[in-house]
């Protein structure tokens, strides 16, 4: 069995973790890899913490659910608490540096814990709405699971219809992706 990269992304309803997962797995598809993505969905339409479980590999992915992620990302305080169970000794745990009051709740057993200023960078350097693409960049940077090129292609595929109307959006998204990658550069996560 080939190596499977396992990614769990968790955030509040509006934070767009599911789109990140979708684009990411589509990029993997474009790359000719196998991917499996399953959202964790609850009863509420909005308001709950939403988790995306993503697996990418060179071969068919055996099972949809995993316990421990290679990389686990949490974008809100509630998300930090919810995903603890998916962190193991091999996990890189990533959370947004702006989340307050979770010191107690950070996983104790992770291989590495990274607080990245994604929200800040998005808000200040780019635009709040590309926060999630920035996160996607960070995940790609940390895992190298897909190439930047295919990631852009997947974004294009998904948001192309929007880019047609406002071409500056494409630029903004691609920059967010690159900034995201930069955020984890040199953090020695691999």
């Amino acid at each position: 069995m080939g190596k499977v990269t396992r990614i769990a992304l968790a955030g509040e309803g509006g934070q767009g973790v599911q789109s990140v997962a979708q684009i990411l797995t589509e990029a993997a598809e474009l790359e000719g890899k196998e991917a499996l993505y399953i959202p964790n969905f609850g009863i509420e339409q909005r308001g709950g913490v939403s988790i995306a479980f993503v697996q990418i590999s060179d071969q068919k992915i055996p099972a949809p659910k995993f316990k421990t992620g290679d990389i686990v990302v949490a974008l809100s305080d509630r998300a930090v608490r919810r995903v603890q169970v998916h962190v193991g000794s091999e996990t890189v745990f990533v959370y947004d540096a702006s989340i307050e009051g979770v010191e107690e709740d950070l996983p104790k057993n992770a291989r590495k814990i990274l607080a990245i200023p994604a929200l800040e960078v998005a808000n200040k350097k780019l635009h709040p709405r590309v926060f999630n693409v920035l996160i996607m960049g960070a995940v790609i940077g940390a895992t190298k699971v897909v190439s930047l090129e295919k990631a852009k292609e997947a974004i294009e595929k998904r948001l192309g219809y929007k880019f047609e109307k406002s071409p500056e959006l494409q630029e903004l998204n691609f920059r967010a992706l690159e900034e995201g990658i930069k955020l984890v550069e040199g953090m020695e996560v691999e």
Partner: protein
């Protein structure tokens, strides 16, 4: 309007619900009757978007009772029709399905199991095994395929139409919330190019004036005396028993070499298979058996697979629904049975592996 939704083969990456919609289209389903319920909703969403392009129809009914009974109506009028539901909707669906069972009306229902009992969760489960195999006030003369991947969801949804129309028993594709909502890759194809597809036939509304040119269809499910029912039922049971050998399907691995046999179905089987294969590669004496048809159950095949086993582990996201099937079908054997019951929650390969190792090492009684 293009009549062929798919030509040739095509690799795609989609959710299970989308897969079902495509499979039904590909199989030539002409109309879907349904009522919303999570996690099967997107079957209807994709269907309502795609169907009009291929001249197919849709009706959203007032509840699952109506979805089941309009489905029956559609089938009686000669259409390849289907429905999809889950959880409490599956409970209600038993009423129409019991009528289909009694009247030998070929129906196809895709069940995306969710947590139970009652409303419970919208997520995932394997707790509708009892219900789907034996729901209704009858003997469970049905066919239930338990799928584990998107490829199977596609293949068996197509197959379900053929099975239903060939044997005239209500046919179910039993998947679950994970399969419904996850995305993975599969190859979709035009089944008409690959296999013989069974075509539907009208039960009512055939040409000619009844009583003049032909006999009228007088279809019923009520009988006045016990013996009349017994006669009708005996015929159906005989037909069912006769079909069993043609219907049963299973998959197994390493059963010749294994001392520990792991039994699982559906999506849980994937976790079990991964754990077992890993362990087997590591040289441990472990294999698996996976029923694909839960009803009829591959009894002979299970017995054969268990011949060498010193212990058996049943793994399921339910509290003993598969386990009871295994015990019943393995009656006569006395291999110790171990269990891993996680009603309503997913099971990971790691968890299965851990349990297997404990059992192989004799750490768990």
């Amino acid at each position: 309007m293009n009549d062929k939704p798919i030509t040739g083969e095509k690799k795609v990456f989609m959710t299970g619900n989308e897969v079902v919609a495509w499979a039904a289209l590909a199989a030539g389903a002409e109309v879907m009757f349904g009522y919303p319920i999570t996690p099967q909703n997107e079957i209807m969403h994709y269907w309502t978007r795609l169907a009009p392009k291929y001249g197919r129809k849709f009706l959203q009914t007032e509840d699952e009772l109506s979805a089941g009974f309009t489905l029956i109506g559609g089938v009686l009028a000669g259409k390849k029709a289907f429905t999809a539901t889950a959880g409490p909707g599956n409970v209600l669906m038993q009423e129409p399905m019991s009528m289909a069972e009694a009247m030998r009306i070929p129906t196809v229902a895709v069940i995306q199991q969710r947590g139970g009992p009652s409303t419970a969760t919208v997520i995932y489960s394997q707790q509708e095994v009892n219900l789907t195999c034996f729901g209704g006030n009858g003997e469970g003369l049905r066919v239930v395929y338990s799928t584990s991947s998107h490829q199977e969801l596609f293949d068996y949804t197509i197959k379900a139409f053929n099975t239903a129309w060939k044997y005239r028993f209500p046919t179910f594709v039993l998947a679950d919330g994970y399969q419904a909502k996850m995305r993975e890759s599969l190859v979709i194809y035009d089944p008409f190019e690959k296999m013989e597809m069974v075509e539907p036939e009208p039960f009512v509304g055939k040409p000619g004036t009844p009583g003049v040119d032909r006999k009228p269809a007088h279809l019923r499910n009520a009988y006045s005396v016990e013996e009349e029912l017994y006669e009708a039922l005996s015929k159906d049971i005989a037909d069912y028993e006769k079909a069993v050998p043609e219907l049963v399907e299973h998959e197994s691995f390493n059963t010749e070499e294994s001392e520990l046999l792991v039994i699982a179905h559906g999506v849980v089987y994937r976790s079990a298979a991964m754990a077992v294969k890993e362990l087997a590669e590591e040289g441990r004496k472990v294999g698996y058996f996976r029923p694909i048809t839960l009803r009829p159950f591959p009894q002979e095949q299970l017995k054969e697979a268990a011949r060498k086993a010193k212990q058996i582990l049943v793994v399921e996201s339910a509290y003993g629904q598969l386990y009871r099937l295994v015990r019943e079908n393995l009656y006569g054997a006395d291999i110790p049975l171990k269990t891993m019951f996680m009603p309503g929650v997913g099971i990971t390969p790691e968890e299965v592996r851990e349990k297997c190792v404990a059992l192989l090492d004799g750490k768990e009684a």
